[in-house]
Amino acid sequence: GAGVSQSPSNKVTEKGKDVELRCDPISGHTALYWYRQSLGQGLEFLIYFQGNSAPDKSGLPSDRFSAERTGGSVSTLTIQRTQQEDSAVYLCASSLFGLGNTGELFFGEGSRLTVL
């Protein structure tokens, strides 16, 4: 597609339920990033994929959070047993080769998660 696509754009769930957030990066982009943006906070790095592997998953806040990427393209971020503190906007970004060259990331519009 022309840009980074994320779905769903909005998700309301009950505490304790599992959620899956999807990211479809720009075609041909090998690097994919997940960030979390909480109200009043900056962007918090979660995980980075290069191809299908994740060389840096240091930002995942707990073992309830996991992510995978298949075919070097679509990525899914899964949050198990959601908690109210998981409420945030989850942003996905992609770049052509990772940040080795230009450092420019292309962001999707985010998935807003609300945990009741």
């Binding site: 900056g42 840096d56 990772g98 292309f106």
Partner: protein, 115 residues
């Protein structure tokens, strides 16, 4: 730890006046610095970057930023603000971790431009 700081939560400026959004950095080695803008209910958009070379970097929408090594700053500027510039602005620095690179963002500064 490598990081950026944005000391102002909000900046208010009248349309037509110059604007400055501040950013300071703390990195080891040469910094790669970026500015992104976020309009309401949208993702972030790249504005400009400093990698090397000229300390004054020009970017999209008439924005520019000045890299100052002695003051470890990378302030975003525009000579004449527009109401449509009202948005959330993020400064970021590239951070290497092993074989990976990522952008670490500041907490953001909300720019409000009024008539």
């Amino acid at each position: 730890a490598q990081s950026v700081a944005q000391p102002e939560d909000q900046v208010n400026v009248a349309e037509g006046n110059p604007l400055t959004v501040k950013c300071t950095y703390s990195v080891s080695g040469n910094p790669y610095l970026f500015w992104y803008v976020q309009y309401p209910n949208r993702g972030l958009q790249f504005l400009l970057k400093y990698i090397t070379g000229d300390n004054l970097v020009k970017g999209s929408y008439g924005f520019e930023a000045e890299f100052n090594k002695s003051q470890t700053s990378f302030h975003l500027k525009k000579p004449s603000a527009l109401v449509s510039d009202s948005a959330l602005y993020f400064c970021a620095v590239r951070v290497h971790t092993g074989t990976a690179s990522k952008l670490t963002f500041g907490t953001g500064t909300r720019l409000q431009v009024t008539l």
